[in-house]
Amino acid sequence: MAYSEKVIDHYNNPRNVGTLDPNDSTVGTGLVGAPECGDVMRLQLKINPETGVIEDAKFKTFGCGSAIASSSYATELIKGKNVEEAAAIKNTQIVADLNLPPVKIHCSVLAEDAIKAAIEDYKKKQAQAHPAEAVA
Protein backbone atom coordinates (compact mmCIF):
# COMPACT_ATOMS: atom_id res chain seq x y z
CA MET A 1 0.00 0.00 0.00
CA ALA A 2 1.31 3.43 -0.87
CA TYR A 3 1.28 5.79 2.08
CA SER A 4 1.71 9.50 1.65
CA GLU A 5 4.96 11.08 2.81
CA LYS A 6 3.07 12.86 5.56
CA VAL A 7 1.77 9.57 7.00
CA ILE A 8 5.24 8.04 6.91
CA ASP A 9 6.71 11.13 8.56
CA HIS A 10 4.15 11.06 11.40
CA TYR A 11 4.61 7.31 11.77
CA ASN A 12 8.40 7.51 11.97
CA ASN A 13 8.47 10.68 14.06
CA PRO A 14 5.20 10.74 15.96
CA ARG A 15 4.57 14.09 17.68
CA ASN A 16 3.35 14.44 21.26
CA VAL A 17 3.61 10.80 22.32
CA GLY A 18 3.14 10.36 26.04
CA THR A 19 0.77 10.80 28.95
CA LEU A 20 -0.71 13.60 31.01
CA ASP A 21 -1.91 13.19 34.57
CA PRO A 22 -5.35 11.60 34.23
CA ASN A 23 -6.35 12.85 37.69
CA ASP A 24 -5.77 16.51 36.82
CA SER A 25 -9.18 18.17 36.50
CA THR A 26 -7.94 20.21 33.53
CA VAL A 27 -6.92 17.07 31.63
CA GLY A 28 -9.45 15.20 29.50
CA THR A 29 -8.71 11.60 28.52
CA GLY A 30 -10.25 9.84 25.55
CA LEU A 31 -9.76 6.12 25.17
CA VAL A 32 -11.20 4.61 22.00
CA GLY A 33 -10.80 1.44 20.01
CA ALA A 34 -11.48 -0.09 16.63
CA PRO A 35 -12.71 -3.64 17.15
CA GLU A 36 -12.36 -4.57 13.47
CA CYS A 37 -8.58 -4.43 13.82
CA GLY A 38 -8.04 -4.40 17.60
CA ASP A 39 -6.43 -0.94 17.62
CA VAL A 40 -6.51 1.23 20.75
CA MET A 41 -5.89 4.97 20.97
CA ARG A 42 -5.57 7.20 24.02
CA LEU A 43 -5.66 10.95 23.56
CA GLN A 44 -5.24 13.42 26.41
CA LEU A 45 -5.83 17.15 26.31
CA LYS A 46 -4.77 19.76 28.84
CA ILE A 47 -7.26 22.57 28.63
CA ASN A 48 -7.10 26.01 30.21
CA PRO A 49 -10.39 26.33 32.12
CA GLU A 50 -10.28 30.16 31.87
CA THR A 51 -9.86 30.41 28.10
CA GLY A 52 -10.98 26.97 26.92
CA VAL A 53 -7.78 26.70 24.89
CA ILE A 54 -6.08 23.33 24.45
CA GLU A 55 -2.60 23.95 25.80
CA ASP A 56 -1.17 20.47 25.46
CA ALA A 57 -2.06 17.19 23.80
CA LYS A 58 -0.51 13.75 24.21
CA PHE A 59 -1.37 10.44 22.66
CA LYS A 60 -0.49 6.79 22.72
CA THR A 61 -1.74 4.49 19.98
CA PHE A 62 -1.28 0.79 19.42
CA GLY A 63 -2.22 0.03 15.88
CA CYS A 64 -1.22 0.41 12.28
CA GLY A 65 0.82 3.21 10.74
CA SER A 66 -2.28 5.14 9.72
CA ALA A 67 -3.76 5.00 13.22
CA ILE A 68 -0.51 6.30 14.70
CA ALA A 69 -0.16 8.98 12.03
CA SER A 70 -3.81 10.03 12.44
CA SER A 71 -3.49 10.48 16.18
CA SER A 72 -0.11 12.18 15.93
CA TYR A 73 -1.50 14.57 13.34
CA ALA A 74 -4.62 15.17 15.44
CA THR A 75 -2.52 16.34 18.41
CA GLU A 76 -0.77 18.89 16.17
CA LEU A 77 -4.06 19.98 14.73
CA ILE A 78 -5.82 20.70 18.03
CA LYS A 79 -3.05 22.28 20.08
CA GLY A 80 -3.83 25.97 20.48
CA LYS A 81 -7.42 25.56 19.36
CA ASN A 82 -10.30 26.10 21.74
CA VAL A 83 -12.61 23.29 22.79
CA GLU A 84 -15.39 24.17 20.34
CA GLU A 85 -13.00 24.34 17.38
CA ALA A 86 -11.44 21.02 18.35
CA ALA A 87 -14.82 19.35 18.77
CA ALA A 88 -15.77 20.46 15.26
CA ILE A 89 -12.83 18.65 13.61
CA LYS A 90 -14.04 15.97 11.25
CA ASN A 91 -12.24 12.81 10.27
CA THR A 92 -12.59 13.86 6.62
CA GLN A 93 -10.12 16.66 7.27
CA ILE A 94 -7.57 14.18 8.61
CA VAL A 95 -8.17 11.90 5.61
CA ALA A 96 -7.66 14.79 3.21
CA ASP A 97 -4.60 16.25 4.96
CA LEU A 98 -2.85 12.89 5.34
CA ASN A 99 -4.11 11.56 2.02
CA LEU A 100 -5.23 8.29 3.64
CA PRO A 101 -6.26 5.42 1.36
CA PRO A 102 -9.94 4.31 1.59
CA VAL A 103 -9.22 1.17 3.65
CA LYS A 104 -7.60 3.35 6.32
CA ILE A 105 -10.40 5.86 6.75
CA HIS A 106 -11.53 4.11 9.95
CA CYS A 107 -8.20 5.15 11.53
CA SER A 108 -9.11 8.80 11.07
CA VAL A 109 -12.56 8.11 12.53
CA LEU A 110 -10.77 6.73 15.57
CA ALA A 111 -8.85 10.01 15.95
CA GLU A 112 -12.06 12.05 15.69
CA ASP A 113 -13.74 9.81 18.27
CA ALA A 114 -10.73 10.20 20.59
CA ILE A 115 -10.88 14.01 20.41
CA LYS A 116 -14.59 13.97 21.21
CA ALA A 117 -14.15 11.49 24.06
CA ALA A 118 -11.31 13.53 25.59
CA ILE A 119 -13.35 16.75 25.47
CA GLU A 120 -16.34 14.99 26.99
CA ASP A 121 -14.16 13.65 29.80
CA TYR A 122 -12.75 17.14 30.43
CA LYS A 123 -16.24 18.66 30.61
CA LYS A 124 -17.42 15.99 32.97
CA LYS A 125 -14.44 16.57 35.26
CA GLN A 126 -14.93 20.33 35.18
CA ALA A 127 -18.58 19.95 36.07
CA GLN A 128 -17.54 17.84 39.04
CA ALA A 129 -14.79 20.25 40.12
CA HIS A 130 -16.99 23.34 39.79
CA PRO A 131 -20.57 22.14 40.16
CA ALA A 132 -22.09 25.63 40.42
CA GLU A 133 -20.42 27.21 37.40
CA ALA A 134 -21.22 26.77 33.77
CA VAL A 135 -18.49 24.95 31.85
CA ALA A 136 -16.73 26.61 28.94
Binding site: V32, P35, V40, F62
Partner: protein, 195 residues
Amino acid sequence: MEDYFAFMGFPRRLSLDAGELQRRYFDLSRKYHPDFHTHDEEPGRQTSLEQSSVLNQAYRTLKDRNERARHLLWLEWPDLPESEKKKIPPALLMEVMEMQEKIADAGSEVDESRKAALQGELLDIEARLKTKMGDLDGTLDALATEWDGIADGGDADARRNLLTRLNTLLNTRNYLRTLLATIDAAVRGGQGVRH
Protein backbone atom coordinates in the same frame (compact mmCIF):
# COMPACT_ATOMS: atom_id res chain seq x y z
CA MET B 1 -21.88 -8.69 -0.79
CA GLU B 2 -24.05 -11.70 -1.34
CA ASP B 3 -25.96 -13.87 1.07
CA TYR B 4 -23.47 -16.74 1.25
CA PHE B 5 -25.91 -18.95 3.14
CA ALA B 6 -28.43 -18.66 0.31
CA PHE B 7 -25.71 -18.99 -2.32
CA MET B 8 -24.72 -22.37 -0.94
CA GLY B 9 -28.25 -23.44 -0.12
CA PHE B 10 -28.02 -23.27 3.68
CA PRO B 11 -30.53 -21.70 6.05
CA ARG B 12 -29.22 -18.77 8.12
CA ARG B 13 -27.99 -20.81 11.04
CA LEU B 14 -24.85 -20.52 13.12
CA SER B 15 -24.39 -24.28 13.37
CA LEU B 16 -23.31 -25.83 10.12
CA ASP B 17 -22.26 -29.34 9.11
CA ALA B 18 -18.65 -28.97 7.92
CA GLY B 19 -18.82 -32.14 5.79
CA GLU B 20 -21.97 -30.99 4.05
CA LEU B 21 -20.43 -27.56 3.44
CA GLN B 22 -17.42 -29.16 1.76
CA ARG B 23 -19.59 -31.45 -0.39
CA ARG B 24 -21.61 -28.51 -1.64
CA TYR B 25 -18.43 -26.55 -2.26
CA PHE B 26 -17.04 -29.31 -4.47
CA ASP B 27 -20.36 -29.76 -6.33
CA LEU B 28 -20.72 -26.04 -6.99
CA SER B 29 -17.02 -25.74 -7.91
CA ARG B 30 -17.57 -28.22 -10.71
CA LYS B 31 -20.74 -26.47 -11.78
CA TYR B 32 -19.14 -23.00 -11.94
CA HIS B 33 -15.59 -23.89 -12.89
CA PRO B 34 -14.54 -21.70 -15.85
CA ASP B 35 -12.92 -24.71 -17.59
CA PHE B 36 -16.33 -26.27 -18.04
CA HIS B 37 -17.65 -23.10 -19.62
CA THR B 38 -14.96 -22.28 -22.17
CA HIS B 39 -17.33 -23.01 -25.05
CA ASP B 40 -20.22 -21.05 -23.54
CA GLU B 41 -21.48 -17.97 -25.26
CA GLU B 42 -20.97 -14.67 -23.45
CA PRO B 43 -22.25 -13.61 -21.00
CA GLY B 44 -22.49 -17.19 -19.69
CA ARG B 45 -18.73 -17.57 -19.51
CA GLN B 46 -18.27 -14.35 -17.58
CA THR B 47 -21.05 -15.33 -15.17
CA SER B 48 -19.40 -18.67 -14.37
CA LEU B 49 -16.16 -16.85 -13.60
CA GLU B 50 -17.92 -14.48 -11.25
CA GLN B 51 -19.88 -17.28 -9.61
CA SER B 52 -16.78 -19.32 -8.88
CA SER B 53 -15.17 -16.29 -7.25
CA VAL B 54 -18.27 -15.76 -5.08
CA LEU B 55 -18.25 -19.45 -4.27
CA ASN B 56 -14.68 -19.34 -2.97
CA GLN B 57 -15.50 -16.36 -0.80
CA ALA B 58 -18.70 -18.01 0.43
CA TYR B 59 -16.85 -21.21 1.34
CA ARG B 60 -14.08 -19.39 3.20
CA THR B 61 -16.62 -17.31 5.11
CA LEU B 62 -18.97 -20.13 6.10
CA LYS B 63 -16.16 -22.53 7.03
CA ASP B 64 -14.85 -20.32 9.84
CA ARG B 65 -17.37 -20.09 12.69
CA ASN B 66 -16.42 -16.53 13.61
CA GLU B 67 -16.53 -15.33 10.01
CA ARG B 68 -19.82 -17.13 9.61
CA ALA B 69 -21.24 -15.37 12.67
CA ARG B 70 -19.98 -11.98 11.41
CA HIS B 71 -21.62 -12.63 8.03
CA LEU B 72 -24.91 -13.64 9.63
CA LEU B 73 -24.85 -10.50 11.76
CA TRP B 74 -24.31 -8.39 8.65
CA LEU B 75 -27.21 -10.09 6.87
CA GLU B 76 -29.61 -9.95 9.79
CA TRP B 77 -28.73 -6.42 10.88
CA PRO B 78 -27.48 -4.58 7.79
CA ASP B 79 -27.98 -1.12 9.31
CA LEU B 80 -26.05 -1.91 12.49
CA PRO B 81 -25.25 1.57 13.85
CA GLU B 82 -21.64 2.77 14.21
CA SER B 83 -22.00 2.90 17.98
CA GLU B 84 -22.91 -0.81 18.03
CA LYS B 85 -20.09 -1.72 15.65
CA LYS B 86 -17.59 -0.38 18.15
CA LYS B 87 -19.26 -1.73 21.25
CA ILE B 88 -17.17 -3.78 23.67
CA PRO B 89 -17.32 -4.43 27.41
CA PRO B 90 -16.32 -1.08 29.03
CA ALA B 91 -13.39 -2.38 31.07
CA LEU B 92 -11.84 -4.22 28.13
CA LEU B 93 -10.44 -1.18 26.33
CA MET B 94 -8.57 -0.05 29.45
CA GLU B 95 -7.24 -3.55 29.95
CA VAL B 96 -6.13 -3.78 26.31
CA MET B 97 -4.31 -0.45 26.61
CA GLU B 98 -2.50 -1.58 29.77
CA MET B 99 -1.44 -4.85 28.21
CA GLN B 100 -0.22 -3.15 25.05
CA GLU B 101 1.86 -0.79 27.20
CA LYS B 102 3.35 -3.71 29.08
CA ILE B 103 4.22 -5.46 25.82
CA ALA B 104 5.88 -2.27 24.57
CA ASP B 105 7.83 -1.93 27.86
CA ALA B 106 9.07 -5.50 27.57
CA GLY B 107 10.27 -4.78 24.06
CA SER B 108 12.26 -1.69 25.01
CA GLU B 109 13.67 -2.96 28.32
CA VAL B 110 17.46 -3.31 28.12
CA ASP B 111 18.18 -4.73 31.60
CA GLU B 112 18.25 -8.50 31.08
CA SER B 113 16.74 -9.57 34.40
CA ARG B 114 13.96 -6.99 34.25
CA LYS B 115 13.30 -7.99 30.65
CA ALA B 116 13.02 -11.64 31.70
CA ALA B 117 10.56 -10.69 34.44
CA LEU B 118 8.43 -8.72 31.98
CA GLN B 119 8.50 -11.61 29.49
CA GLY B 120 7.31 -13.88 32.28
CA GLU B 121 4.43 -11.51 32.96
CA LEU B 122 3.56 -11.54 29.28
CA LEU B 123 3.41 -15.33 29.29
CA ASP B 124 1.02 -15.19 32.27
CA ILE B 125 -1.14 -12.67 30.44
CA GLU B 126 -1.04 -14.85 27.35
CA ALA B 127 -2.24 -17.87 29.29
CA ARG B 128 -5.07 -15.79 30.77
CA LEU B 129 -6.05 -14.46 27.35
CA LYS B 130 -6.09 -17.95 25.88
CA THR B 131 -8.43 -19.10 28.64
CA LYS B 132 -10.64 -16.09 27.90
CA MET B 133 -10.57 -16.95 24.22
CA GLY B 134 -11.70 -20.48 25.08
CA ASP B 135 -14.53 -19.02 27.18
CA LEU B 136 -15.61 -16.89 24.22
CA ASP B 137 -15.70 -19.99 22.02
CA GLY B 138 -17.99 -21.61 24.57
CA THR B 139 -20.20 -18.52 24.65
CA LEU B 140 -20.36 -18.52 20.85
CA ASP B 141 -21.50 -22.16 20.94
CA ALA B 142 -24.26 -21.22 23.37
CA LEU B 143 -25.31 -18.21 21.27
CA ALA B 144 -25.33 -20.42 18.17
CA THR B 145 -27.69 -22.89 19.77
CA GLU B 146 -29.88 -20.06 21.00
CA TRP B 147 -29.95 -18.37 17.59
CA ASP B 148 -30.73 -21.55 15.70
CA GLY B 149 -33.68 -22.02 18.04
CA ILE B 150 -35.23 -18.61 17.37
CA ALA B 151 -33.95 -17.92 13.82
CA ASP B 152 -37.38 -18.58 12.35
CA GLY B 153 -39.30 -17.37 15.38
CA GLY B 154 -41.36 -14.21 15.32
CA ASP B 155 -39.94 -12.42 18.38
CA ALA B 156 -37.95 -9.54 16.85
CA ASP B 157 -36.78 -8.29 20.27
CA ALA B 158 -35.26 -11.61 21.24
CA ARG B 159 -33.47 -11.82 17.90
CA ARG B 160 -32.13 -8.28 18.17
CA ASN B 161 -31.01 -8.92 21.72
CA LEU B 162 -29.11 -12.00 20.66
CA LEU B 163 -27.49 -10.23 17.71
CA THR B 164 -26.36 -7.46 20.07
CA ARG B 165 -24.63 -10.00 22.28
CA LEU B 166 -23.12 -11.70 19.25
CA ASN B 167 -21.69 -8.40 18.03
CA THR B 168 -20.09 -7.62 21.40
CA LEU B 169 -18.60 -11.10 21.53
CA LEU B 170 -17.08 -10.86 18.04
CA ASN B 171 -15.65 -7.41 18.82
CA THR B 172 -14.12 -8.66 22.07
CA ARG B 173 -12.62 -11.58 20.21
CA ASN B 174 -10.90 -9.25 17.73
CA TYR B 175 -9.13 -7.41 20.56
CA LEU B 176 -7.99 -10.62 22.19
CA ARG B 177 -6.73 -11.95 18.87
CA THR B 178 -4.72 -8.77 18.25
CA LEU B 179 -3.29 -8.91 21.77
CA LEU B 180 -2.32 -12.56 21.43
CA ALA B 181 -0.60 -11.90 18.10
CA THR B 182 1.24 -8.92 19.60
CA ILE B 183 2.40 -10.96 22.60
CA ASP B 184 3.49 -13.79 20.29
CA ALA B 185 5.53 -11.31 18.25
CA ALA B 186 7.09 -9.85 21.41
CA VAL B 187 7.93 -13.16 23.09
CA ARG B 188 8.71 -15.47 20.17
CA GLY B 189 9.33 -13.07 17.31
CA GLY B 190 6.09 -14.18 15.62
CA GLN B 191 4.49 -12.33 12.75
CA GLY B 192 2.50 -9.94 14.88
CA VAL B 193 -0.69 -8.63 13.51
CA ARG B 194 -1.49 -7.39 10.04
CA HIS B 195 -3.40 -4.18 10.49
